[in-house]
């Protein structure tokens, strides 16, 4: 297949136009005249995690709370292994980020004194249905921002160890893009689709996280030799069964408790109700035969039910449709809950690029923000905005008039061939979706998926690792016939690279720090003496090398030194 090659040049390239990426670009545009280019494989008006909207801002310093108490909360909830320095820098900017969203036009619920109405200590009520169109519209007003929609970026451009841009292909026409940039921001989100999902047949994409977030940014970084952190701290959401709609709207919004089949509140039997413990308790109740588990909503008023219908339409319409077509709402029937398959996502747990205070990765001129960046759990929407802003301000500060380095023509040719060679392959035994499903099956069964109650051991992980390498070889030799195939195969290879690194992280942490998220059956207890550490890794010469690093304190200013 023939491709036209388009070569572009910009000051800052933002890969991924979701919430973090859009806000990074907006900050650069508002505070400088630097040229910014956003490349997105969807359309920035509705791409990323917040396509359908978001039902609350869950990272906010509420009344009586401080940035310091926010750090303490995240630390407690994450069993102490977080980058306190990163969480603190986010905490200090959360409320300004919320105000900025209001200025851009997002509706907030306010009390008589004009303060935001809180849903919890660190959560405020909004209408987040329109959040992506609002961000996209704000960007449209800036002449120094340009957007490439429906372009899938697949590799960084590297020269002498420095990132000098990225390359990819259009999903709509046979065009290959080579984009040179002085600074690159990776804002591609996290990774879904690594494990077999809750609904593996027709509704296979009815999942918590965006099925279009395929771990592309992690995989590009892995292949380029960037240091990654905490992949073993997977995220598993507790959701409304089948529709995989959020539970916080009910649990926090109307203070519904979790009950088992006997109607008993069960979370307190298992310990303090941290995010992962509420999930673990639900998994255990089901294993013990006390399931199904529910959020206790029976008896709420008709008015509350009507408001819940609306709240779900603003984020997860499937849940409202389910209630209405069954003609049984939450006032008459408790809402069943379940755990999802595991995801790798830096906005909720700590997986992602290992970054410094400015959000620089270990590759020169490459930044990571939002779900792509590791170390700081519970950043959510507002935290992603703050992180985008921190990276943007650093880029403005450090970008000068010097010229961008370029690849020579042979290097460019080699790169194009590397991305497009799948058209020349001859192997047609397995299609990209079949390879992806094979990966999801092996990860589910051998690397702690839903099937095993999220538990794993060393023997299982070894078997998973062998199969993932086999699948990578199969994928490399597979022929593609169209742009759709090419995208699917690249996404599958990206997920396989994430899975490969993930398995080594799960194996490396020889303790169990977070039940369900990381439950190593060879080492079933938490071991503070040896494992108050970050598990990091670098992929080199086909091998994942594990690096253990000491915890970074709240008031440090972390810079990459070794």
């Amino acid at each position: 297949m023939k491709f036209d090659v388009k070569t572009l040049e910009t000051d800052a390239l933002v890969i991924g136009g979701g919430t973090a990426g859009c806000f990074s670009a907006l900050t650069i545009a508002e505070h400088s005249s630097l040229k910014v280019l956003i490349a997105d494989k969807g359309h920035i008006k509705r791409s990323g995690c917040l396509a359908a909207g978001v039902n609350a801002l869950n990272a906010y310093i509420g009344k009586g709370e401080t940035p310091e108490s926010f750090v303490e909360y995240v630390k407690r909830d994450s069993e102490n292994v977080i980058r306190e320095d990163l969480v603190y820098s986010i905490a200090k900017g959360l409320n300004d980020a919320a105000e900025k969203l209001e200025q851009l036009g997002l509706p907030f619920l306010k009390d008589e004194s004009g303060s935001y109405v809180q849903r919890g200590k660190r959560s405020i009520k909004i209408n987040g249905e329109n959040i992506k169109p609002i961000l996209a519209e704000a960007l449209r007003k800036h002449e120094n921002v340009s957007v490439l929609n429906y372009v899938n970026i697949t590799e960084y451009l590297k020269k002498d160890g420095t990132v000098i841009g990225a390359a990819g292909f259009s999903l709509r026409e046979n065009v290959f893009y080579i984009i040179y940039a002085k600074k690159v921001i990776c804002a591609t989100g996290g990774a879904s689709g690594i494990y077999k999902p809750n609904n593996p047949t027709f509704s296979r994409h009815k999942m918590w996280y965006s099925p279009f977030n395929t771990g592309a940014g992690y995989a590009m970084g892995i292949r380029a030799g960037a240091e990654m952190t905490s992949f073993e701290m997977r995220f598993i959401a507790l959701r409304c069964k089948d529709t995989i709609a959020p539970t916080g709207t009910i649990a926090q919004g109307i203070k519904a408790e979790q009950v088992n089949a006997k109607g008993e509140e069960y979370v307190s039997k298992y310990g303090k109700p941290t995010t992962y413990m509420r999930l673990y308790a639900t998994v255990m109740e089901n294993l013990k035969g006390n399931g199904p588990c529910f959020l206790k909503t029976e008896g709420i008023s008709e008015e509350t039910e009507k408001e819940l219908f609306k709240a779900y339409l603003n984020m997860a319409p499937a849940q409202t449709l389910k209630w209405i077509e069954r003609n049984i709402g939450p006032s008459k029937e408790n809402v069943e809950i379940e755990g999802t398959e595991p995801y790798i996502v830096g906005g909720h747990t700590a997986s992602g690029y290992w970054i410094d205070a400015d959000r620089k990765t270990t590759l020169k001129n490459l930044y990571a923000v939002g779900d792509a960046a590791g170390g700081s759990p519970k950043k959510y929407v507002t935290g992603c905005l703050v992180e985008g802003e921190i990276a943007a301000l650093s880029i403005i500060h450090e970008t000068d008039d010097s010229k961008v380095s370029k690849l020579d023509s042979n290097e460019e040719k080699h790169l194009i061939q590397h991305v497009l060679h799948f058209f020349d392959n001859t192997d047609i035994k397995y299609s990209p979706p079949e390879i992806e499903q094979a990966m999801q099956k092996v990860m589910d069964e051998y690397a702690g998926g839903i099937t095993t109650g999220y538990m794993y051991n060393k023997t299982k992980l070894k078997m998973a690792a062998v199969r993932i390498d086999e699948l990578l070889k199969i994928a490399e030799d597979t022929k593609v016939h169209s742009l759709d195939d090419l995208l699917n195969l690249h996404e599958t290879i990206d997920r396989l690279h994430v899975a490969k690194v993930l398995i080594q992280h799960l194996e490396a942490r020889k303790e169990t720090r977070w039940k369900c998220y990381q439950e190593n059956c060879d080492y079933p207890n938490k071991d503070d003496e040896n494992w108050l550490k970050y598990v990091n890794s670098v992929y080199k010469d086909g091998r994942v090398q594990i690096i253990l690093r000491d915890l970074v304190g709240r008031d440090s200013r972390y810079e990459h030194t070794n």
Binding site: K45, L109, N199, A311, T320, I324, R326
Partner: protein, 104 residues
């Protein structure tokens, strides 16, 4: 869960095709929209809200409890009308105001 596009109602404006975050909606020879792979839909409803003719209907797959009902939207400057049609053809409408926050 996925969407169905009614070819007879589609006015060939291509707005849905230019918004889908999964690049799933394509244009056929008559310039009408169709979904390439229904099981790849996330269910975000971005296309419903773009569609000016109510041609796109959202439904729950049988595997997640669907009962044959569906949902379409009408986007207005200040509100969205969500129209639910159950299998026994009972219609139900919910209006969400764009400038009004969630209560929960």
């Amino acid at each position: 869960m996925s969407i169905q596009i009614d070819k007879n109602k589609c006015i060939a404006c291509q707005k849905c095709s230019n918004i889908c975050p999964g690049n799933l909606i394509r244009i056929d020879q008559d310039q009408k929209a169709f979904i390439k792979c229904p099981q790849d839909c996330w269910g975000c409803t971005a296309c419903l809200k773009e569609c000016p003719s109510g041609a796109i209907k959202y439904f729950l797959g049988a595997d997640i409890g669907g009962r044959g009902g569906s949902l379409f939207t009408q986007d207005h400057p200040n509100h969205i009308d969500w129209h639910f049609i159950t299998k026994d053809s009972k219609n139900h409408k919910i209006q969400t105001k764009k400038d009004e926050s969630n209560k929960y």
